[in-house]
Amino acid sequence: MLRGSLAIWQRDMQVLRRSIFSELVAVVAYPLTIYLAFGIGMQSYIGLVDGAPYSMFIAPGLITMTAVNAAYNESVWSLWFHRRVQFTVESYRVTPISVSEIVIAKIFTGFTHGLIKGFVVGLVIFAITPFRFPLEHLFQYLLFLIPGSAFFSCAGVISGTVMDKPETIGKVEAVLVMPLIFMSGLFFPLSSYPPSVISWVRALPTTALFEGARRALVAGEMIPLAALQVSLSALLTFVAAVYIFRYKMSE
């Protein structure tokens, strides 16, 4: 059933292997710059946040942000490029695989990109900063990172499917994706929000992801409801991504 997905995913990994160095340099540069500029530069002005130095507060969020951003970007641009520029999706569709197999492959590719890049940024932060966490916290953290990457990969597939112009993809990223990430407690604690807004912010799957992932990694604390919210969001966007892609292809 998923033979086609596997073939396309293997193709994507083959391409990633070829450009892994340049990809990782680009991926590491962004969160590292943020870490150095905000975490180190602003640390003395901000002091402790939730009882931790500011650089320690933002480190888990930067790893998570790298993973989900990579998942989203890979899915959205890959799907758009293969559909609108290279027409490879068309060439896949005249082989005996289903449309669902194509979209599932693209979701898994985005997801894999997210995990690999998140892992590498984690290693770099671990290597050059004093940020440390007990290894046993990693499993709980992955319970957030894996569905979180899947959620963003599916969201990327939806954007890459419905948007035909590259500038629209850029606008959606600027207006929707980045605010969702930045406003979900990545750079500041949720307690900074006015009380009337907090409940709305907490309802966002990105808040559940970033808040839950941080607590899991730093304190080993598991928030089951947050993990469930992220997983359900991933499942719903997966179903939506497959449906929307199938619908678009049938037009």
Partner: protein, 325 residues
């Protein structure tokens, strides 16, 4: 590669019992626009079939339905007896498609492009390896198999697309404008290869180059406004034109004007055109030629030649001269 035995198609009665592609009342509408209108077609197994039509005639819509990329609004389309509406996967197993767009993967080498296609067709490595070797050699690309398609000329890229469509040994090959944008040498190389495939598989070709259709195709269909308007061999289509015959008469020295006026006054001459010493006359029928020869007795005629009707004449007479958007 193991291919299943030919399917026994479900045509109950047909004037073409070995038809590989059949459409019956095939219709595709987009809102109020009918792109394909009750289209009936039968393409014989093993033949090279050409589909001609001006831009917007419905060629791409038809090929997209036949290759299962699009669903029809009404009617049916059968490929090797399989219905495009509910046997898409089985159909895609036995067709090869060379689309208008260059859909090669520029991040994979030539060989990797073919390997990916083989894997999508579920071929085993030991089977596709030798098949790909053969195809690369056949297409003259074996020396460039590790290069990326972006570094190829247009002709080489096209040959690679054709090779990709043949990896799984399809029974029906769809070529959608396969030589558009190629130089004459590359075009002829593709023609030669297509010709070499004749008989081993059914080839369904759309093209804007009428010479291409004339050179390659056993039968040609002309469509316009979503409808089939003519079908037959090149000669049969030419024979459909009116019985009018066109001759070119070349005069030596002065006198072409005087004789052109004389010929223009003759009742059997339908049309006359003159460019310097050359006069082109359209006669009602070829029997009128003797009257013309008599009228030209003593004239300084250098040459009288029959102008063959071309497929382009047929195409223009059926679809009109107006440029389509």
């Amino acid at each position: 590669m193991h291919l299943p035995p030919p399917a026994h198609h479900s045509m109950e009665s047909s004037d073409m019992p070995t038809a590989s592609i059949v459409t019956r009342s095939l219709t595709k509408s987009y809102g109020l626009l009918t792109a394909l209108d009750s289209f009936d077609l039968a393409v014989e197994q093993g033949s090279i079939f050409g589909l001609l039509g001006p831009n917007g005639a419905g060629k791409t819509t038809l090929i997209r339905i036949l290759t299962t990329l699009m669903r029809q609004s009404r009617g049916e389309a059968l490929i090797e007896g399989l219905d495009t509406r509910n046997e898409g996967r089985a159909i895609r197993r036995m067709i090869g498609v060379v689309s208008q767009e260059n859909s090669l993967d520029r991040y994979l080498t030539a060989r990797e492009n073919l390997e990916l296609h083989a894997r999508l067709h579920g071929m085993e490595k030991r089977l596709y390896k030798s098949r790909i070797d053969d195809l690369l050699e056949l297409m003259g690309l074996e020396g460039r198999q590790k290069d990326f398609p972006d570094t190829f000329s247009g002709g080489m890229q096209r040959r690679l697309v054709v090779a990709r469509a043949l990896v799984h040994q399809p029974r029906v090959l769809f070529l959608d404008e396969p030589t558009t944008g190629l130089d004459p040498q590359s075009r002829r190389a593709v023609w030669e290869y297509v010709r070499s495939l004749a008989g081993s598989m059914t080839i369904f070709l759309t093209t804007h180059y009428l010479e291409e259709a004339e050179q390659l195709c056993d039968r040609i269909a002309i469509m316009d406004h979503g409808r089939l308007i003519a079908i037959g061999s090149t000669q049969e289509l030419k024979d459909r034109l009116s019985g009018a015959t066109v001759y070119e008469i070349e005069f030596t020295g002065e006198g072409a004007d005087r004789y052109a006026a004389l010929l223009g006054s003759m009742p059997c001459v339908i049309d006359i055109k003159q460019i310097e010493s050359k006069v082109t006359v359209t006669l009602e029928c070829w029997e009128c030629l003797s009257e013309i020869v008599t009228a030209l007795n003593g004239a300084p005629v250098r040459r009288i030649s029959l102008q063959e009707r071309t497929l382009e004449d047929v195409f223009i007479s059926l679809t009109g001269e107006k440029v389509r958007e």
